[in-house]
């Protein structure tokens, strides 16, 4: 009988709920298809070495296909080539490689576009108020971080370094650091009326800080991710809007593709945008959005 089909999944970290959801979705898909999933991850945002090591181990373990969310778009190229040379199907999830054809296929969201959506909404919703913006970044230099940050500024209509940017803080996407960063920025400038956040945990931290300053009603707090906790925060009015992504879609499609390859030898190709949607209960004109009811049905996490 044929050897058990092994699907490898290499996420950026095990820390981020986004990747936790991705792994769970992959596990479910693997179970449904009767294949074995071995998941690995880097230890932190930027752990290229950890991801390379994981892919090498998965090649050694005899994986048929490897799904990887590369930490940055070029870091993984060598080992990906090694895997493909060894006949392993490699699919990039969530983040594209550079060049994009270094992998067989890419199932991802356009993070820059997601940032643009967030920024455009925030600017519109702010109305004619003069914007005073605080930015709660993730880990500076990370690919996703850069795309979302730059996208937001573009959507918001500000250039990097514009005086309307009152300040920024590094949150590593963590709630506690989001809270500390927001508190200190509010201490510095009480006029802040728009807040960019890298993800929903950072937004939750920011909300707590805003609340303790009594400013939660006056500030346009937006985010990206689409975790259920985040959507609930939108519903509760804590976050004005978030941009939802679909990690489970990426993972499930990835597992299916590997199984397909193992049974039929068929390889997927190209970039498949798994899409993103702005979720808000306070839509503004000219910007497509879905309400939280839809959001709660399609969110990830629990």
């Amino acid at each position: 009988s044929a050897e058990e089909v092994i699907v490898g999944l290499v996420t950026k970290t095990e820390v981020n709920p986004f990747f936790v959801k991705m792994r769970q979705a992959a596990e479910e898909a693997a179970k449904a298809k009767g294949v074995k999933l071995i998941a690995r991850a880097g230890k932190f945002d930027g752990d290229n070495e950890g991801q390379v090591t994981a892919i090498e181990d998965l090649i050694s373990a005899g994986a048929k296909g490897i799904l990887v969310t590369p930490n940055n778009s070029t870091g993984m190229l060598g080992v990906i080539k090694k895997a493909r040379d060894a006949g392993v199907l490699v699919i990039a999830l969530d983040t594209a490689t550079e060049p994009a054809d270094a992998v067989d296929a890419t199932f991802a969201t356009d993070n820059f576009e997601a940032g643009v959506e967030q920024g455009a909404y925030a600017r519109k919703a702010l109305g004619d108020k003069k914007p005073v913006l605080a930015m709660l970044d993730g880990t500076p230099g990370g690919t996703v971080d850069t795309f979302r940050h730059n996208g937001y500024l573009k959507g918001f209509g500000l250039a990097e370094g514009d005086p309307a940017i009152a300040g920024s803080a590094i949150t590593n996407g963590a709630q506690d650091k989001g809270q500390v960063g927001m508190e200190n920025l509010l201490s510095k400038n009480g006029e802040i009326n728009a807040v960019y956040t890298i993800n929903e945990p950072a937004a939750a931290g920011a909300y707590a800080a805003l609340k303790s300053f009594g400013k939660e009603a006056d500030v346009m707090l937006t985010s990206i991710d689409g975790g259920c906790a985040g959507v609930r925060d939108v519903k509760a009015g804590k976050i004005a809007a978030t941009v939802m992504q679909f990690p489970y879609k990426m993972a499930a499609m990835g597992v299916d593709a590997v199984v397909d390859y193992a049974t039929n030898g068929k390889k997927p190709s190209g970039f498949v945008n798994t899409g993103s949607f702005l979720i808000t209960d306070k839509p503004v004109e000219g910007i497509d959005s879905k309400n939280t009811e839809w959001g709660l049905k399609n969110c990830w996490g629990d």
Partner: protein
């Protein structure tokens, strides 16, 4: 001759010696110096609201650093400090969310934290394994266990009792949370233990010279065990304070807590080789870190530059401390 020359030096030198000899004066001066500089760059720094915020931001690391201080005084080190605290938040949250009485939930969580301390302490005192490795191992075990328990990741903890430590109270116009008060109470209590009881003496003795401690009949193993358990108990309390600050149980929180708490301890003047230092220094050390972060933001320094400046100022802080103590 010695007493004669001491007298000839006069009261002055005695007072100076008393202060310069106290290990926490150096850090205190550094803290005041930073405070002064920041209040000049931005007057908002000294606003009571801002000071109160700095205190609140210090609550979690400040409390964890109490336990870390105890362990470092015994020449140990604790890399599991954040993991044990997170264990507390997750357990308390899970239990409360699944219908347990919140007080019982918190109690059980603190108990579980203490149990982690029992495990660490037993391995270190019983098998004489290096604390670095034992706590690193426990860090891995707890982190993994937490991810297994809380499969889906973080979840909100809305119970009122569990979040109570985040409520504010006004003291003389100064707004603080109950969490701040509890942290300060813990500092007071552990300070008392360290400085006024036999147990505290023995902590210093074991850290300074474990063989001498053994020879004079101090039960070194039992003492180490008690230190790790007390520290872990405090991490459990810190879990309650953490839920007050962030009503959310996240298995991935506090990843840098080990480095942060050790930093507070070392800036506070406690030696990583054990037996020298104290708790007041740690509180000041934690505040120095908080003041730096807050003050640099208020001074409008870009976060990328903040790390740079913080790196330099941390070194400067310890160098100043060294200087105030005088040479060898």
């Amino acid at each position: 001759m010695n007493s004669a020359s001491a007298l000839s030096f006069g009261r002055m030198s005695k007072i100076a010696a008393r202060f310069v000899g106290t290990p926490s004066v150096g850090p205190l001066l550094v803290l005041l110096a930073f405070g002064l500089i920041f209040s000049l760059t931005n007057p908002r720094f000294l606003a009571t609201q801002n000071l109160s915020i700095i205190l609140q931001q210090t609550v979690i690391i400040g409390t964890l650093a109490i336990g870390q201080t105890l362990i470092i005084l015994t020449a140990g080190i604790d890399l599991a400090v954040g993991a044990i605290c997170v264990l507390g938040t997750i357990l308390a949250g899970k239990l409360a969310n699944s219908g347990y009485d919140p007080i019982a939930a918190m109690g059980l969580a603190v108990l579980a934290c203490s149990a982690a301390g029992v495990a660490a302490g037993s391995l270190i005192s019983g098998l004489r394994l290096p604390p670095f490795i034992v706590t690193l191992g426990i860090l891995g075990i707890i982190t993994a266990a937490l991810r297994l328990i809380s499969a889906g990741g973080a979840f909100p903890v809305t119970d009122e009792f569990l979040g109570w430590t985040g409520n504010t109270v006004r003291l003389n116009g100064f707004i603080v949370t109950y969490g701040v008060i509890i942290m300060l109470l813990l500092y007071g209590m552990v300070w008392f233990l360290l400085n006024q009881t036999q147990w505290g003496r023995h902590v210093y003795a074991v850290g300074n010279n474990p063989e001498a401690a053994r020879l004079v009949g101090i039960p070194v193993g039992r003492l180490l065990l008690s230190v790790y358990v007390l520290a872990a108990f405090i991490y459990g309390i810190a879990a309650w304070l953490a839920l007050g600050r962030i009503p959310n149980a996240d298995p991935n929180a506090l990843q840098t807590a080990n480095l942060d708490s050790i930093t507070a301890v070392v800036i506070g003047g406690t030696s990583l080789f054990g037996g020298r230092g104290g708790l007041i220094g740690t509180l000041i050390g934690a505040l120095i870190v908080g003041v730096l972060r807050n003050g640099l933001t208020l001074a409008g320094i870009d976060p990328l530059w903040q790390d740079l400046v913080t790196g330099i100022l941390v070194i400067v802080a310890v160098a100043l401390d060294q200087l105030t103590r005088g040479r060898r």
